[in-house]
Symmetry: C2
Subunit: 301 residues, 2 copies
């Protein structure tokens, strides 16, 4: 099949228009978001939703996350990233497989149900993780489109995936809130260069390959502006696979934490990577026949 | 004379109550700021003033700053800091001595006049600089009190100095706006450790000595909170010498620039350093008999 989103082929960087819808469903009154929210996601490539979860539910998730981080030593080592200079757990991958409450969350109508609606298909979890960054020294995460990496290194064919980040701490611009360029999801920046072997071992630290050039980022920022996805604990941020995003470092004492799930349409299952020797490991990109999520409704706890 | 603000004496870190006023004058109707602004500075240790300068004045300063950065190669080398990997000028010290317009700005009633009022004395420029940080890669500046350094390394005896930063670019939390802890000016964090010889050669890159411990910063942030000094080009930020402040890095494409003047009361002239072998060079801390600024009123241009 033809690659409509070529990248890292040794050609100069160029901009390609998105060939896929952003919202794949017609809105109806029984959709899990309002018509206005659906239009907003379609226009901006992201949506910030507050007050979807009760205080009790959020507290239960915070407690469980803290527990998982403490128990991190007992988890599969491949799934856990610790701080370079301590045993403190920074990331736990395959989050929903580690804990029943996190599995329940991954299947919740407020996450997976919205993803189903946006993608117009059954969905499965392509990647998931618990993120925790302590205060004072949190490093920045540079601008990128997730889809570019998933396409190049995981073989995701089309833009039919959405990320859901549930904030487990308050997040403000000054403690490194997610920044997004609204509308950037409609431009695919085909990157120059090529993928080094086992690039993911480096890119989890700091992404070098597959990021737009400063010139492209400058043009995109002028065209679209930059929005800070700020919100209190419990806020849900949904963003399209191709929306350009990044986050600044954080010298404030306040840590940042979130539960993060990437939903992919089952019809968009992974192929061979489009620009890498071999696919990334399973904890970064679930391969094989996708198993559609069965939605759960009602309270988590 | 007794050192009422001891620091870096090899003792453990401790908190000392401020022994000096924050606002040294009684407010009267002919003061250069309103009574409410004076109270706000007294309470918070800083003040953000918009619309003090006309668009024409701000544009003239921006143009002059750009000119100075281009001409930076012709200035005294000690006064100029360039980027590590290029000849791009990042900082120009002794700003008012480099250019007549900058001298006019340093003497303006809207800067030096407010400083005179706040400090209840004639003032002189202790340190000044033009700051410029390009976008994408701007590094963070960690939490500190300026006074701690000026006391330890420059021999400034009392808390009777104020900094004035005139923004020459828009500054928002997400492009590394100055962050301040309102009220922190009333606590002096006496730091552990000692000053290494020629510490300023390192501390201009990243401050290690003379910063409060994470535990102190965490307590201070909980007690006082953190305010982002955001504002459009032309905004003036005034802050007390002991207000704890810092700034995050900046991955946005937007550069940051300001004209920065530290005013010290002439009665507060420098002595021998309180915690260093020898004083820092003149471009960082003007020594000798202070020459009081003569105020200029009216438009800059």
């Amino acid at each position: 099949t033809e690659d409509i989103y070529p990248t890292r082929q040794g050609d100069p960087e160029r901009w390609i228009n998105r060939a896929d819808p952003v919202v794949w469903s017609e809105w109806t009154p029984d959709a899990p978001i309002s018509q206005r929210q659906a239009e907003s996601f379609n226009r901006d490539g992201f949506l910030v939703l507050r007050d979807l979860f009760s205080t009790d539910e959020v507290q239960a998730l915070i407690d469980r996350a803290a527990h998982l981080r403490v128990e991190g030593q007992n988890l599969n080592r491949e799934d856990v990233v610790t701080e370079p200079d301590s045993a403190e757990v920074r990331t736990i991958f395959r989050l929903e497989t580690q804990d029943p409450l996190m599995m329940r969350l991954a299947c919740d109508r407020r996450l997976a149900g919205i993803a189903q609606f946006l993608l117009g298909d059954d969905v499965y979890v392509h990647q998931s993780r618990l993120n925790y960054k302590s205060g004072f020294t949190g490093k920045e995460f540079y601008w990128h489109s997730d889809f570019e990496t998933w396409h190049a290194e995981d073989g995701m064919p089309r833009m039919r995936a959405v990320s859901a980040s549930l904030l487990l701490t308050d997040n403000r611009a000054h403690n490194g809130a997610l920044m997004l360029m609204p509308g950037s999801q409609n431009t695919y920046v085909s990157c120059s260069g090529a993928t080094p072997r086992d690039n993911h071992k480096r890119s989890l630290q700091a992404q070098k390959v597959g990021t737009p050039s400063p010139e492209s980022l400058d043009r995109l920022a002028r065209k679209h502006g930059i929005t800070d996805a700020e919100g209190p604990t419990g806020t849900l941020i949904l963003f399209d696979s191709n929306t350009i995003h990044g986050s600044n470092g954080n010298i404030t004492p306040e840590p940042r934490s979130n539960a993060f799930f990437v939903y992919n349409a089952v019809s968009n299952r992974l192929q061979d990577p489009f620009a890498a020797d071999r696919p990334r490991p399973d904890f970064l990109a679930r391969r094989g026949v996708p198993e559609p999520i069965e939605l759960h409704t009602g309270r988590l706890v």
